[in-house]
Symmetry: C2
C-alpha cells in the first residue's frame, strides 16, 4: 500500500484523520496554517507547490487527502520556484472564477503529479455522518424548514456564496457569507424574537457543501461548539447534508444537543 | 380626476408621497402600522379588507399606491367579515408561495375592486432615482463588485430571500435576510478587516428589488441613516438598482455620503 499524505490546515481534523487511518500518513502543513499541537512532517508554501509535489512522489506517496481550514494565503512573488511559476496562470484563472474553481484546479494539479486525491468521507466514513436523526426528534415543520433551507443554500451556491443558512417557520433569518457560521449565529443572538409565532417551531441551522462542489476538499464541518452556538441563537436544531459535512466529534455533539434539547439531523 | 388613496405603512414615505402628489390623497393606515405624526383618513384591518375596498370605491377613489413598511400582521379570525373571509383562501395560498406571491395577490384583490394600483415611481419619479453616480466616484473595482453583488441578489431573489448584500473585492461579506439592512450592516461592524488587501477597494452595499418583483409594492428604500450605517461598516459606498429603490431624502443622503467620503450610485 502506498503512503498517504494529509494536506493539513488548521483545526483538529488532520490529527483525527491520521489517528483514524489504518496506515501511517505524512502530515503536510501549509506554512502559517499548521494545525496546533502537531509536528508536521513537511511544511510547504504555495509558491513552492511543485517542490512539495516532487517530494511527495519521491517519498512514495500515492494518495493525498485535504483536511482542515485554510484561508487564501498571501503569496510572495519572490518565493516562486520556476516549476510552480508555470502553474500560476492556471491557478489565477481558476481563482477569478471563484472558490470552487480554485479547489478543482488544485485537485487537478495534484492529479497531474500522479497523486490520487481522496475525500475524508472515502478514507474515514465515520467522520462524515450518513442520513439519520442523530439526536432528538424532527417534526414536519422542521422538515419543511429544512427543505426551504436546502433550496436557499443551493441558490447561494450557484453564485459561490456560503454553505449555510437559518430558517424558521419558512422565513430566512440569516445567510452565511464570508465571516462564517459563528458570525452568522452570533448575529442572530442579539435580534430578539423574529418568529411570528414561537409555538410554530424554533427554526434550524442548515449546513451543506455548495452544490456541485468537489467533495474531496473543503467539506463544511460541525462540532460541539456549533451546537452550543445554535442553542444560544435559540434555534431548535441543526440539519446537514448527509455524507457532505464533517462531524469530528459526533458523540460530543450528541451530548451537547441532548443537554440543550436540540435535534441533530443528517438529511 | 379620481381620488388617490395611499395605503400607508410605517415610515416617512406616506407623508412625503402625499406632499409630492399634485392632487389630494386619502391616507389609509393599516391598524398597528400607522405612520407617525399623521392623522390617517381611514384606519383599516386586513380582516376587514373588503370593507375598506367598498369604502374606497364609494368615496370615488380610482387609484391606490402602497407606501411604507408593513410587517406581516397578526390576524384575528374572529374579526373577519364575510366578504373578506371569501378572499382568505386566495391569500393563504399566495402566502405559502412567498412574499412576492403574497404582494401580487394583494394587488390583484385591489384591481378586482376596480382600483388601479400605481407604483411610487409612477406617481413621483423623483423619489426613485434614475441611473447616475449621485455622489463621489466609482472605480472599476467598484463596478466589478457591483456586478457580483447584483448576481448574488438575483440568485437570492429566486428563493425569495432578501434584497441586499455586501461585496468587497469580489468576496461576499454579508447577505440580507429577514432581520434587514440595519442588522446586516451592524453584523459587519464588529468583524474587523475581512478584505485581503484594504488598498484594493473598501467594498459596497448593494440594494435592489427582488428579480421579478412587482415594482408597484414593497420597493426597498434607502436614506441618510443607511449612509451612516454603511460608513460605520467601513464600506466604500452604496449601489442600488436605478428606478427600483426609493430614496426619500436623496439630498440628505448626498450630504452624508460626501461628508463620509462614500459614493452613491444608481446603476
Amino acid at each position: 500500500m502506498s503512503l498517504t499524505a494529509i494536506i493539513a490546515g488548521r483545526g483538529a481534523l488532520p490529527l483525527a484523520l491520521r489517528a483514524a487511518l489504518p496506515e501511517p500518513a505524512l502530515i503536510c502543513a501549509l506554512d502559517g496554517f499548521a494545525p496546533a499541537g502537531v509536528a508536521a512532517d513537511i511544511v510547504f508554501r504555495i509558491e513552492r507547490l511543485a517542490v512539495l509535489l516532487d517530494d511527495l512522489v519521491a517519498r512514495g506517496v500515492g494518495r493525498v487527502v485535504f483536511a482542515g481550514a485554510v484561508q487564501r494565503p498571501q503569496l510572495d512573488p519572490a518565493l516562486f520556484d520556476p516549476k510552480t511559476a508555470m502553474l500560476v496562470p492556471q491557478l489565477m484563472a481558476a481563482m477569478q472564477a471563484g472558490d470552487d474553481a480554485t479547489l478543482r484546479a488544485v485537485i487537478a494539479i495534484f492529479e497531474d503529479w500522479g497523486l490520487a486525491v481522496a475525500g475524508v468521507q472515502d478514507l474515514v466514513p465515520a467522520l462524515v455522518p450518513a442520513a439519520a436523526v442523530w439526536c432528538g426528534a424532527v417534526t414536519d415543520r422542521d422538515r419543511a424548514d429544512a427543505d426551504r433551507a436546502a433550496a436557499i443554500v443551493a441558490a447561494l451556491g450557484a453564485v459561490d456564496v456560503g454553505q449555510g443558512c437559518v430558517v424558521a417557520q419558512g422565513l430566512c433569518l440569516a445567510v452565511e457569507a464570508l465571516p462564517g457560521t459563528d458570525a452568522m449565529l452570533a448575529s442572530l443572538a442579539g435580534l430578539g424574537p423574529l418568529r411570528p409565532d414561537p409555538g410554530r417551531g424554533r427554526g434550524l441551522f442548515y449546513k451543506a457543501p455548495k452544490p456541485g462542489q468537489d467533495l474531496r476538499i473543503d467539506l463544511p464541518a460541525l462540532g460541539p461548539d456549533t451546537v452550543r452556538r445554535v442553542a444560544e441563537a435559540d434555534l431548535g436544531g441543526i440539519v446537514w447534508q448527509a455524507g457532505g459535512v464533517i462531524c469530528l466529534d459526533l458523540a460530543g455533539m450528541q451530548a451537547q444537543a441532548a443537554a440543550a434539547g436540540l435535534f441533530l439531523w443528517a438529511r
